[in-house]
């Protein structure tokens, strides 16, 4: 009986572990202008960037405000070396001519932080 309960518990744990969260925690969708301009929305992965750069690089040096939707960035600014263009210039990271690497989201996505937890935080904005 106890052994059976243990097996059930283990199965439940495995099932819980296998339930996928949707987006990765901290992923940001940027679609204020993308689709209107005829390209896919941008998916910005915080996890990928924080392995390589501390928060302060983008949110202090590059001037990104710490609120999804508060930064209006144009391709012109990026190609002039501002915001994403500080690194996405073909030197530190791929250049702005690799559209599909950043503009990689599904059509119709809403701008904002995705993959947050069950609090009002990310959805509240």
């Amino acid at each position: 009986m106890i052994a059976r309960a243990k097996v059930l518990l283990l199965a439940a744990c495995l099932a819980l572990a296998a339930i996928p969260a949707a987006a990765e925690y901290g992923d940001v969708v940027l679609n204020r202008r993308s689709e209107a301009e005829g390209v896919r929305p941008v998916v910005f992965p915080h996890w990928f960037h924080r392995i390589r750069f501390r928060c302060k690089v983008c949110h202090f040096e590059l001037g990104f405000k710490m609120r999804a939707g508060a930064n209006v960035v144009t391709m012109k600014e990026i190609s002039e070396g501002r915001f994403c263009g500080m690194c996405h210039n073909g030197q530190v990271a791929w250049a702005a001519d690799r559209c599909d690497l950043c503009h990689s989201g599904k059509k119709g996505l809403r701008s904002g932080i995705q993959g947050g937890h069950e609090t009002l935080g990310p959805g509240f904005w």
Partner: protein, 187 residues
């Protein structure tokens, strides 16, 4: 002979318990509900599993203990792009929520300044004076104050005891137990 068998079995069980399997799972980008699977360039993007599986495990957020990953040198993120940018660090701890009902909050400046610059928090949303900020858990849960990051990119608000980490002195006047040091396993 049965005794020998029992010993072997015990050793095998101990080994299995020691080698805890990593149950963390990350969705492939093409199935995460955000990326367009029809985009051929998606194959050039790094998969979360490839990057995150080797980092200190966690049960929440990205399933990575980012501070541990940094302290153990598993990641070496750059502090600045421009060499002339001043990288500022602060090492002190601030105790918060001294009059509340939940355990006292130990705010470590070290962990925060290793990632962030002073100006990211001061003087907005927090003034640089201990006790001068009216912190409100309801506001935090709505994405204000600490909730600007915690609940969005930093460890989520489900992890109460990581901030509320210092037990209150009992009414009998016993001194508070020391805070859980950063990186230590949770009780």
């Amino acid at each position: 002979m049965p005794r020998r068998l029992a010993t072997i079995l015990l050793l095998a069980l101990a080994a299995a318990a020691w080698a805890q399997p990593d149950l963390r799972r990350w969705l492939p980008l093409a199935k995460d509900g955000l990326h367009d699977p029809a985009n051929p360039a998606i194959r050039e993007l790094q998969e979360p599993r490839e990057a995150l599986a080797r980092l200190a495990p966690d049960t929440a957020g990205n399933q990575v203990r980012w501070m541990q990953a940094l302290d153990r040198g598993q990641i070496v993120p750059r502090s600045s792009i421009d060499p002339s940018t001043e990288v500022r660090l602060l090492e002190d701890d601030i105790l918060l929520n001294l009059a509340g009902g939940t355990p006292i909050v130990r705010f470590p400046h070290r962990a925060h300044t290793l990632w962030l610059d002073c100006s990211n928090c001061h003087e907005k949303p927090f003034v640089s004076k201990a006790g001068a900020n009216k912190l409100d858990m309801r506001k935090i849960l709505q994405g204000e104050q600490c909730g600007i990051c915690h609940g969005a990119v930093a460890f989520p608000l489900t992890e109460c005891s990581r901030c509320h980490s210092v037990p209150r002195p009992s009414r009998a006047g016993a001194p508070p137990r020391p805070a859980v040091p950063p990186g230590a396993p949770r009780p």
